[in-house]
Amino acid sequence: MLTVESTIKWLNLFSEKVEKNKDYLSELDQAIGDGDHGANMARGVAAMNEALSNKSFDSIQDVLKTAAMALLSKIGGASGPLYGSALIAMAKQAGEDRSDLASIIQAGSDGIQKRGKAEPGDKTMVDVWVPVVNALKNNKLSADIIKKAVQDTEPLKAKKGRASYLGDRSIGHIDPGSMSSGYLFETLIEGDTL
């Protein structure tokens, strides 16, 4: 279950993973976008880490909101408002019922869809968030499910975001935002937050 401590731990693990894999994220973005996803995310999680370590928190809502504002204002690409909207929506849902993780992640997924208007199959991070929500609802989230969702973006043709301008040329590459979202959910498992 999410608590103030486990949420911070989760977000810290996510930061570490992004920082460690930022070159790979940029490499993925180089193929079908503008090559900045790793740098964007690394800048965002660094700001998030700083914001989380500079303050003490008395609710999960507060943690998620603080993280959201750091990501929103520091990422600098589409993933800024997208992760920002996700975490703001998650904070709101956590305020209503912090024990229901599936509903919290569902709120995040809905927040991303509301902001970016992408549907499943459009080759965006939505293609990872939606299957993760479904798995959580059935108590079945695993590293394999996450890996498969990320991998399944490879054959898709992008309909939203930078990659959509490439049309058929976007086929055959993993979507970078799906990869970074994959890290977010892998660290959810690794942090024993489930």
Binding site: S73, G77, S85, R115
Partner: protein, 123 residues
């Protein structure tokens, strides 16, 4: 100043600087503010810069134009938190910002301006 101002958002600061120069030539009485690039001067878009450009605009009602993806998303997020009335146009960036500015300067009613922008919708 006209009732409506114009807001420009781009991934590149030089793009909005250049576009502002183009628009000011025909719309000296329209408040035109802009946000270009990321906080550290890179290519991208910034929630904070968009918010500052909205606040800096001398008009309470704003017609907003943007280039790509995250420029629009940041505009929408700022729209949700500001007291100003922002209308977002999914239209060809340069052509529509020019059309709106020139018509505002000429005192054309907003409904008429919106109608003229309709065929420029491309996104």
């Amino acid at each position: 100043m006209s009732e409506y101002g114009v807001l420009l958002v781009s991934h590149v600061s030089e793009i909005v600087e250049g576009l502002t120069a183009l628009l000011k030539e025909v719309a000296s009485d329209v408040s035109i503010t802009s946000a270009g690039g990321t906080d550290d001067g890179g290519i991208g878009s910034s929630f904070d810069k968009v918010q500052a450009a909205v606040e800096a605009n001398q008009s309470g009602k704003i017609l907003a134009f943007y280039d790509l993806g995250s420029s629009k998303m940041n505009l929408e997020m700022v729209k949700e938190v500001t007291d100003k009335e922002i209308t977002l146009f999914d239209t060809a960036f340069i052509e529509s910002a020019y059309t709106a500015s020139a018509l505002l300067q000429a005192g054309v009613p907003i409904e008429e301006i919106k109608k003229q922008l309709e065929p420029l919708k491309i996104k």
